[in-house]
């Protein structure tokens, strides 16, 4: 409990250092654009691959589990769409990104810490937390809505592929299903959730990296802690947001 309070206090203090106007706007924007590329664009291939397969698998599983002449033809498409919108493309996607982006951030900042690069910045008079962490948070939050929308779209395409290339479901039934009773609010719900999760991933991973100490092994441990704790927090936040927003 004492440790938890200490971590929370350190996290709040760190965020206090992070959320300041940057020393140099030009340097901030340069870092920001680098991070957009590193965290956003480089995450695209994995998001596309996972979403495509999950969309297809969801369609097959839903069809098998709802094989009943009493259920309407749109059931499979509808359930696939709702699962992608409500949970997969926001929560599950962020759990995956916590592994990719979170560990990357924690290990990058952790390595900078143990090799004294952060101390070097501090000695120069740079607010290292602001310089290193703020662009990561801002760029990831910028990319999140796009990543979520891409994931939803590609997931739906995956399901469409099942209709196109297999005899599990017809394309006609699937297309009717994904259009049936569409509630646009669910897209906003997915985006809002992903923004909260994106903040959790970047800020907590940065925190664990920033306070890493020791050697390479400790950076690995910090990186693992960042991923595990981000995942737990994402699930808590998911529960809370689902209760609040739906």
């Amino acid at each position: 409990m004492k440790d938890l309070i200490r971590h929370f206090g350190e996290y709040i203090l760190l965020m206090g250092k992070v959320f300041h106007l940057p020393d140099r706007q030009r340097m901030f924007w340069r870092q920001y654009s680098r991070e957009l590329e590193k965290q956003g664009l480089q995450s695209l291939p994995i998001i596309v691959i996972i979403s495509l397969f999950i969309g297809a698998i969801l369609t097959i599983q839903t069809k098998i589990n709802t094989e009943n002449p009493l259920l309407p033809i749109y059931t499979t498409g509808l359930l696939t769409r709702e699962t992608l919108l409500l949970e997969f493309s926001s929560t599950i996607l962020c759990l995956i990104l916590a592994g990719k982006v979170g560990s990357n951030i924690a290990s990058e900042i952790g390595t900078m810490r143990i090799t004294e690069q952060i101390d070097a910045m501090e000695i120069m008079g740079v607010n290292s937390a602001n310089y290193l962490i703020l662009p990561k948070i801002c760029s990831f939050l910028t990319m999140m809505p796009f990543l979520v929308i891409i994931s939803i779209t590609v997931g739906l395409i995956g399901g469409y592929g099942v209709g196109l290339f297999t005899d599990v479901i017809t394309v006609h039934d699937y297309v009717i299903g994904i259009q049936y009773a569409f509630n646009p609010y669910f897209v906003w719900y997915a985006i809002i959730k992903s923004l909260v999760f994106g903040f959790i991933i970047t800020s907590f991973s940065s925190y664990y990296g920033y306070y890493a100490y020791g050697g390479a092994l400790d950076v690995g441990k910090a990186s693992t802690k960042a991923v595990v704790n981000s995942n737990i927090l994402i699930l808590f936040a998911d529960l809370l947001l689902t209760k609040l927003l739906l």
Binding site: D23, R24, R26, M27, T111, M112, T115, E116, Q117, D119, A120, E122, I123, M124, G125, V126, N127
Partner: protein, 258 residues
Amino acid sequence: MIKVNDIVKSFDGAVVLNHISTELKDGQVNMIIGQSGSGKTVLMKSLIGLHKVDSGQILFDDRNIAQMSEKEIRALHREVGMLFQGSALFDSMSVIENVMYPLEMFSDMSKEQIVERAQFCLRRVDMPERAFNLMPSEISGGMQKRVAIARAISMNPKYLFCDEPNSGLDPKTSLIIDQLIHDITREFNICTIVNSHDMNSIMEIGDHIVFLKGGVKEWEGSRHEIFHSGNEALNDFVFASELYKKVQTAALKDHPTD
């Protein structure tokens, strides 16, 4: 000049620096020496403001760092250059970008002026031009130290701190780095503070030496006075090796009254 007045620093009740006072002057290489655990790293970190001292004053040209806010310390740090033990170059930036970084952050120079200044600093530390665009991982340890010195002097610092500048370097490269620190100190009239236990460095460039033992200042003086100090703890530390014992004997024979 940095004036240290009676500073005390402790961690969890254990006193690490015990009433230390000294004056570190401009244009000379001030060395803090002592065995591992003697408190020299804590003293250096306290001087830079990374540790808050329990009592006493640290005056950077009459500005007391012990009473400064974090923002004021950050402003003071812009007058400080630091050479880290492991060089601490930013590994995501090339050699020249490393040197340009503090200039881009804090100077009002144009892009061309920044590049010119970075090139000047790199040439001053004898970095070959072909290495300017290499990444730190692609150059040798000695070259990394040179780049770190170039970065440290790029903002024309008033104070230069060097933490174990020769660690991990071969004797010849160590000598070159020592000479570079010495020359830059004289040329730019910087107050240089070197934390070291390398006897060659101490005897080569130590204009003013502060010897710590168990958190207490045991002795201070110049490298010329070190042979005749009469301080047992210092003699134990400095003349631990047979070679330096012989050097001391020879020095005392040549200049018995110095």
